[in-house]
Amino acid sequence: MPSTQDWINDPLAVVEEMFAASQNNSNSGWETKAVEFFQDQLKERDTHTLVPSLNDVPLHYLKPNSLVKFRCLIQDMFDPEFYMGVYETVDPSTKTKVRMLRCGKYKDVTECGVDFNSRNTVTAERQTFYCVPIPGENPWVKEISSSCLTEARVVPSTSYAPSRQKRSYEEDDDMDTQPQKQREPHAGMKIPSEHHGNGDCKRQETEAPSSQTASASHLDLNFPLPGEKGPSCLVKVYEDWDRFKLNDTLEVYGILSVSPALSALADEKDASSSLLDPAESMETAEEQRVHSPPASLVPRLHMLHAKPLPHNNPLLPSAALEDNSAFLSSTLSEMASVREEILSYFTHVLLGDALAAEYLILHLISNVYSRRDVLPLGKFTLNLSGCPTVASYTERFYQIIQQLVPSSHYLAMSLQNMNQMRLVPKKDYVANRLVSGALQLARNTSLFLDETQLEQGQLDTTGVRNVTALGNLISWQKVDYDFNYHQMEFPCNINVLIASEGRSLLPSDCQIHLQPQVAPSHLEESLSSIHMHPQASSQLNKFRIYLSMARLLDYSISDEVTKSVEDDFVDMRKDDPQSISAEDLHRMLVVARLLSLSLGQTSLSRDSWLRAKHIEMLRRSRMEQHKCVNGNEP
C-alpha cells in the first residue's frame, strides 16, 4: 500500500504498478481497481483536504503528474478521442527488440519508440471536457475554501518552489523509466529528449508568474462571465462520461499534466510538421488553439475521480446531508432563530420593508427541484420593483447578496449591455467550441438583473434576442444555446432577482413593490447607512449556512394538509372566482414550500400554509394599491 504522499505526489506510479501487476493475468480489471483505489483513499477522513487544489494554488506551484483537485463547471464537451491505452515500445537504438508494454492511460504523451504495428496495442477511448472555475463564485467562497486547505497549500509552495521544478521534472522522468531493466541503451536516446524537456522547463519557469495575465491577450479562455480569472482545464474523462452533463459542477480529482509537448503553438512554429501530416493540417489554427492550448495555460487533468457538487458553499459539508445527521440536526434547530436575524437584517437593507425582506429570503432559498415535462417546479423569480435609484442602491444591494450566496452575478440591464453582451452561448464552428455567454451559469447561481439601469432607446436584434433569452430563462428555466443551424435547449437552475423601478419588462413569478419605511427626505441618509453595519464574520457565516441549507432540505406535503389546501382553494374560488386562478395556486404552493423550508420544516404544516396565504394576501393588496396609485396596467 503506497503511502499518502505517494499517491498524491506520484499517482502514475500507483497506476503503473497496478498495470504491471495485471500483465500476468489478463482479466484482472486493473483499471477499475485503480479507480477504486483512489476513490477509497479519498473517502478516508480529510484526505481530500491534503490534495492541492487548482483553484487556490497557482499552476506553477503544483508538481506535474501529481494528484490535484479542481472545483469546476463543465463549459464545453469536445469530441471523444482515441488514444493508445496499451502500447509497446521498441528501443530503436539497439536492434535487439527489447519490448516493453506500456500503459497510455492518464497520460498525454507516449514514451519513445512506439511500435505502431505491435499487436498488443489497445486503442481506447476517452472524452475531453473543457472546464472552467465555477462562474460567479464569490470571493468569500474562494477565501474560505483555500483557508481550509492551508496544509495542502503550504506543502507544494515550500517543497515545489519554482526553483526546484526542474529537479522534480527530472525525478519524475526517472521514476517513469525506472522499471526498465535496460537503462544503458536508453542513454543515447534520452539525452536529446531530456534536453528538450529542460529547455521547456526553464521557459515555463520564467514565464509562469506572468502567464495568467499574458494568457488573456492571445488566448480566450472562454469564461462565461466577463472579467473572470482562474485556471481553466482540459479534463480527460476515462469512465462513463455520459453521466456528466454540460454545466455540471464537479470537484475533479485527477493527475495534472502540463507536458510542454502538448502545446500546439510549438507545432505552429515548426511548419514542416503540418506539411508532413496531412491529417493535422486540416484543423484550422483556431481549432488547434482551442483544442490544444499550451499546457502552461490550460493544464490537462486526467480524471481519476469526480464528485458532483450539490452546492459550492465551503461552510457546508460537501457530502450529502443525510450522511451528516449531526450537522443537519444542529443547524435545523437553529434555523428559526437565524431566520429572525436574517429577516431583520434584510428588513434593514430593504429600508424597513419587512414583507419584501420575507420574500427575499424565499427567493434566495428557491431551487428548481423537479420538472414536469416543460414546467420547472420550485423556481421563484422575484421582481423587486420600486427600487430607489439614488445612491446606487441596487449595486449596494447586490454587494450584500454577494456576501451571502456562494455564486452570483450582477447584470446591469443597460441598453448598451443588452445590445452588446453575449448572454447565450453560441457554437463557433470554426474553432469547434462552444463560446460561452453570461447565461451559462452553474445551478443555484444568483443572477441579479438591475433594470434600473435601463434607459430609453432602441434594442437591436441582439438586444431583442437577449431579452427573449432572459424571458425564457425566467419562465422555463432553460437557455436555448445557439448552434447556428439549430438551437439546443439546456435546462438551468438560476435564481433571478430583478430590481426595477416599475414593474419589470421581464416576466417574473412574483412581484413586490418596495415600500421604504423611511421618509423620502431621509432616504439618502439611510441608504448610505446600510453599509455601516458591518456584520461580524461569524454572523455572516451563519447566514451563509442558513441560505444554502434551506435549499438542500427535503420537503413533503402530508395528505391532511393536501386536503385542507384543496378545501381552501375551493372556498376561495367560491367567494370570488376571479380572486384566485390556477396560477395563483401554483405560486402559493411555492411560497408555502419555501416558507416551510425557511423555517427548517421539512413538511408543510397548516400554520405555514396559512402564513403563506397571509403574506401572499399582503403582497397582493399592496400590488392592488400600487396599481391604483400608478394606474400602470400590467
Binding site: M84, F116, N117, S118, T123, L262, L276, P278
Partner: protein, 849 residues
C-alpha cells in the same frame, strides 16, 4: 485494390498510364519492400494500428489467426495484391480505372502499385489462376474469387419486390434490381453503382459481414466483379472510367456518439448534419520527377502523405538530380467536411459531437453546410505526431471517415417526394412494445393523458392535439390535377390568459422532432416564410427558410396568434390550405413545401373572454383564416366547485409527488415520441366502406341541422376535417382501416370543438357560419330585419328625397323595440344602398327612385 492509373497501363497506353518499365527496379520501391519483409509479422501499414487489413488486432477478425500459421505470410499478400489489380484490369476493354482514395488506396498505394507494375504483373499472371481460388487477402478472410462470384450472383439475382425507395422508382421490382441499374449505367454513362447494404445482407449474410469488416478489400473486389459483369453484358458501352461500387446504408447505421475504437477500418453509416466544408484540397497521388541532367523522368507514388524523392537518377546515375514537376504529377480532389450529430439523436444536457469526413473526387462539393446527411464510409484513426523529428508521439489518434457515399436525408423535401419513408430506426423490442400498447383498448385515452400531464384536464383539447400529432393520410391527386389534399390538422386554442396555452404549445414543440415555436408578436412574415439574404462570404443571394418551412412535416406552434400583424397572417392562408409557400423575392421565384400542422394560441382582445360575444368578435381574427382551422378550442376557466377541487388536487400533487410516482402514472415521453413517429411512418389508414357511409351521414346530418333554421351549418371543409380526424384516430390505433369508431370519435371531437367555438351567444345554437362567414346566421337575420324596418320607416315618411342621418337614426331607435346600435344602423343603410333604394352622402340620406 483500385490502384491508380497505372493499372490499366499494361492494357492500353493512356494519358499517364505509361509507367516506364525500369520503375520496377526503381530505387524507391526497395525500401517499401524491405519494410514489408522486416515487419511481415506485424503488417506494413504504419498509420493504422488496428487495421484488420494489416494486422490481427482488430477484435472483429480473431478468426483469421489460423491463416497466419502460414510460415511465409508475406508471400500471400503479394500474390493477392498482384492478382487483384490484374483482374481488375482484365475485362475493361480500355476503360481506365479511376483511383479510389476513399478506400484508402492512397495509403496502400505502395503495396498495390509495386506489384501492379508490368514486370510483377507478368509474374502474377502465371500464379494467379491456380493459386487465386484458395487464397485470401492477407489479414482478412476474404477470398477474392469467391467474393467476386458471390457479388456477381447477388447482382444477377437480387430482387426486392417490396422496395419503396425512391431510387428504384421506375424499375421493375420483380426483375433483378441491380441488373436494371447496370443497364441504366450503360445508358446514362454515370459509372457509379450504389448498393444498398441491406440488400446484400438479406442476400448473403456472410458477404455482408465481409463487406462491413474489410471494406478496403471487399469493395475493390466488388468493383472488379461489377465491371466484369458489365462489360460482358454491354461490351460496347463506353464509360468515362470503370464502374465504382458505392455501398450505403450499412446496417451499422449509428449515432456518431456510439462510434468506438472497434469500428476503426470498418464500413459504417452515420447520420448527421454538415456544419463546415473546407476548400478543395488537391492531394498529390503521384509525383513526377525529372532528371535535370538527362531529362529522364520517373513517377513516385505518395505514401502516407510523403513522397520519397529518388536520390539517384536511374538513367544517368547522377545523384540528387531529380526535380519534381508539379504540372505532370497526378492530383486528386479532396475535401474536409465536418459533420455534427443531428440534434434529434442527442441525449439531453450534452453538446453535439463532431466528426471529420474526407470526401474524394466526385464526392467533393456534394454537400453543403446545413445539409442533413447519411454518410457511409470507412472509419479511420491516425496517430498524431508531436514532432516529426522526434519519435515522441502524442498518445492520441486523429479519427476521420473516408466517405464512400453520401445520402442527403432532407433531399426529398426539395423534390417534394413522400417523406413518410423517413428513416427512423426502431428496434424489434420497441416495435413490439408499441404494438402492445396499440392493442390496448384505451390507447387513445392513455396517450392523450400522457400528453402534457402537468396541464390539468382539458381532455378534449389534448385529444385534439394528439390527433394533430398523428395527422391524416396524405392523399395525392396531383396526377388528376387536383393537387395534394391536406393531411395536417390545424388547431387553434383560444381563451383566457393564464390557462396554460403556452405550456401546451411548449410541450408539443418539445415533443415533435420537427417542431418550431414562434410567437406571433415577435415574428414577421419573413420570419415565418422565407427570406432572401446575401451570404456574407460568397456575396451570393441565398434563400433562408423561416419557421413554417422549417417545420415541414412537423408542427409549427404559434403563440399569441392574435398579436400577429395582418401582413404576417396573410401568408398563413396559403400554408394552411395548400401547404405550400410561394416566394417571389429578389429574383428568386419558387414554391416551397410547408406541409406543417399549425397549432396556434390566441388571447381574446379584451384580455378576458367575453361569453356574450362570438369567437370572431373575441379574438378579432379574419374568418377566412379561422375556417382553415379544423378544430378551434376554447380554454376557459370553468367555474364550478368539483372542477376546482380536482384542479387543486392535481396542482398540489404536482408539487409533492416524486418523479417516479409521476412516471408510473403516465407514459414516458420517449415512448409517446416513438409511438407517434412509428404511426406516422408506417400507418396510412384508408377509409372503409362503412366509415365512408358514416362520414356521409354525419355530413348530411350537419347540413340538416342548419337547414331547419334556414342556414348553412356545414361546408365541405368540415367534411374534410372529419375525414382527417377519423384517419388520425385510426392511426392512433395502428389500424390500416378507418372504421366507424374512428368516425364517431372524429364527429364527437369536432362537435365538441364547434360547441365551444361556434355557439352563437345570442341564440345558444351552434352556428358554423360564425366561423365560415364571420357572422352568425341570427345576426344576419337581425340585420335584415333592421333594414326592413328602416325601409318601412322611410316609406312611411312619404316623399322626402333627402333626410338627415342622425334624425333617421333617432326615429328608428324610437320606433324599434330592441336597441339599435349605430353599427347596426349603418349596416342597414348599406343593405338598402345595395338594393339601390338610397344613397348615403356624408350626413344626408337620399332616396333613389
Amino acid at each position: 485494390m483500385s490502384s491508380p492509373t497505372s493499372t490499366p497501363g499494361g492494357r492500353k497506353r493512356g494519358r499517364n498510364t505509361n509507367p516506364p518499365t525500369p520503375s520496377s527496379e526503381d530505387p524507391t520501391s526497395p525500401p517499401s519492400q524491405r519494410r514489408r519483409g522486416q515487419d511481415s509479422s506485424t503488417g506494413d501499414l504504419m498509420p493504422m494500428p488496428t487495421s484488420p487489413a494489416t494486422d490481427m488486432l482488430s477484435p472483429a477478425a480473431p478468426q483469421d489467426t489460423s491463416l497466419f500459421s502460414s510460415p511465409r505470410p508475406s508471400v500471400q499478400p503479394n500474390e493477392v495484391d498482384m492478382s487483384s489489380p490484374l483482374m481488375y484490369g482484365t475485362p475493361m476493354r480500355g476503360t481506365p480505372a479511376r483511383q479510389r482514395p476513399d478506400l484508402g488506396s492512397v495509403r496502400k498505394a505502395p503495396q498495390v502499385d509495386l506489384h501492379s507494375e508490368p514486370p510483377s504483373t507478368d509474374g502474377a499472371v502465371a500464379s494467379e489462376p491456380n493459386a487465386g481460388q484458395r487464397l485470401v487477402i492477407w489479414g482478412t478472410d476474404v477470398n477474392v474469387g469467391t467474393c467476386k462470384e458471390k457479388f456477381q450472383r447477388f447482382l444477377q439475382r437480387f430482387t426486392d419486390p417490396n422496395s419503396t425507395e425512391d431510387e428504384n422508382a421506375g424499375l421493375d421490382l420483380n426483375e433483378p434490381l441491380y441488373m436494371q441499374k447496370l443497364e441504366e449505367i450503360s445508358v446514362v454513362g454515370d459509372p457509379v453503382l450504389n448498393v444498398n447494404c441491406r440488400h446484400v445482407q438479406s442476400f448473403d449474410a456472410e458477404l455482408y459481414r465481409q463487406l462491413i469488416c474489410y471494406p478496403q478489400e471487399v469493395i475493390p473486389t466488388f468493383d472488379m466483379a461489377v465491371n466484369e459483369l458489365f462489360f460482358e453484358r454491354f461490351p460496347d458501352s463506353i464509360l468515362e472510367y470503370q464502374i465504382q461500387v458505392r455501398p450505403y446504408n450499412a446496417l451499422k447505421t449509428r449515432n456518431m456518439r456510439s462510434l468506438n475504437p472497434e469500428d476503426i477500418d470498418q464500413l459504417i453509416t452515420i447520420s448527421g448534419m454538415v456544419i463546415r466544408t473546407s476548400q478543395l484540397i488537391p492531394e498529390m497521388q503521384e509525383g513526377f520527377f525529372q532528371c535535370q541532367v538527362c531529362a529522364y523522368s520517373t513517377r513516385v507514388e505518395v505514401d502516407r502523405g510523403r513522397i520519397a524523392e529518388p536520390a539517384v537518377c536511374r538513367n544517368c546515375n547522377n545523384t540528387h538530380s531529380l526535380a519534381l514537376v508539379h504540372n505532370r504529377s497526378v492530383f486528386s480532389d479532396k475535401q474536409m467536411i465536418k459533420v455534427q450529430e443531428s440534434p434529434e439523436d442527442m441525449p439531453a444536457g450534452q453538446t453535439p459531437h463532431t466528426t471529420v469526413v474526407y470526401a474524394h473526387n466526385d464526392l467533393v462539393d456534394k454537400v453543403q453546410p446545413g445539409d442533413r446527411v447519411n454518410i457511409t464510409g470507412i472509419y479511420r484513426a491516425v496517430p498524431m505526431r508531436v514532432n516529426p523529428r522526434q519519435n515522441n508521439v502524442k498518445s492520441v489518434y486523429k479519427t476521420h471517415i473516408d466517405a464512400i457515399h453520401f445520402r442527403k436525408t432532407d433531399e426529398k423535401r426539395l423534390h417534394g417526394l413522400d417523406e413518410e419513408a423517413e428513416q427512423k430506426l426502431f428496434t424489434e423490442d420497441r416495435v413490439q412494445t408499441l404494438k402492445e400498447l396499440a392493442a390496448k383498448p384505451d390507447v387513445y385515452e392513455r396517450l392523450s393523458s400522457a400528453l402534457a400531464p402537468s396541464i390539468y384536464e382539458h381532455e378534449d383539447i389534448k385529444k385534439g392535439i394528439l390527433l394533430q400529432l398523428f395527422g391524416g393520410t396524405r392523399k395525392d391527386f396531383s396526377q388528376t390535377g387536383r393537387g395534394n389534399f391536406r393531411a395536417e390538422v390545424n388547431i387553434l386554442l383560444c381563451g383566457d390568459p393564464g390557462t396554460s396555452k403556452s405550456q401546451l404549445l411548449q410541450y408539443v414543440y418539445n415533443l415533435v422532432p420537427r417542431g418550431q415555436y414562434t410567437s406571433g408578436k415577435g415574428s414577421s412574415a419573413v420570419g415565418l416564410t422565407a427570406y432572401v439574404m446575401k451570404d456574407p462570404e460568397t456575396r451570393q443571394l441565398v434563400l433562408q427558410t423561416g419557421a413554417l418551412v422549417l417545420s415541414d412535416n412537423g408542427i409549427c406552434c404559434i403563440d399569441e396568434f392574435d398579436k400577429m400583424s395582418d401582413n404576417t397572417r396573410s401568408v398563413l392562408h396559403e400554408v394552411m390550405e395548400q401547404q405550400t409557400l410561394s416566394i417571389a423575392k429578389a429574383g428568386i421565384i419558387c414554391q416551397l413545401n410547408a406541409r406543417t400542422a399549425v397549432l396556434a394560441a390566441a388571447n381574446p382582445v379584451e384580455s378576458q373572454w367575453n361569453p356574450k360575444k362570438t369567437t370572431i368578435e373575441n379574438i378579432q381574427l379574419p374568418h377566412t383564416l379561422l375556417s382553415r382551422f379544423d378544430l378551434i378550442f376554447l380554454m376557459l376557466d370553468p367555474q364550478d366547485e368539483a372542477y376546482d377541487r380536482r384542479l387543486a388536487h392535481h396542482l398540489v400533487s404536482l408539487y409533492y409527488q416524486s418523479e417516479e410516482q409521476m412516471e408510473e402514472e403516465f407514459l414516458d415521453m420517449a415512448v409517446l415520441k416513438d409511438y407517434i413517429a412509428y404511426a406516422r411512418t408506417y400507418i396510412s389508414p384508408r377509409l372503409s366502406e362503412e366509415a365512408s357511409q358514416a362520414l356521409i351521414e354525419a355530413y348530411v346530418d350537419m347540413r340538416k341541422i342548419g337547414s331547419g333554421r334556414g342556414m348553412v351549418s356545414a361546408y365541405p371543409r368540415q367534411l374534410e376535417s372529419l375525414i382527417r380526424l377519423a384517419e388520425a384516430h385510426a392511426k392512433v390505433r395502428f389500424s390500416e382501416k378507418v372504421e366507424s369508431i374512428d368516425v364517431e370519435e372524429a364527429k364527437r371531437l369536432h362537435r365538441e370543438a364547434l360547441k365551444q367555438s361556434a355557439t352563437d351567444p345570442r341564440t345558444g345554437f351552434v352556428d358554423i357560419s360564425i366561423l365560415t362567414t364571420g357572422m352568425s346566421a341570427t345576426a344576419r337575420k337581425r340585420k335584415e330585419e333592421v333594414a326592413q324596418a328602416l325601409k318601412k320607416l322611410i316609406q312611411a315618411k312619404g316623399k322626402t328625397p333627402a333626410m338627415k342621418y342622425q334624425q333617421l337614426l333617432d326615429d328608428l331607435r324610437g320606433q324599434s323595440e330592441t336597441a339599435i346600435t349605430k353599427e347596426l344602423f349603418d349596416e342597414a343603410l348599406r343593405a338598402l344602398a345595395d338594393e339601390d333604394y338610397l344613397t348615403v352622402t356624408g350626413k344626408t340620406v337620399r332616396l333613389l327612385a
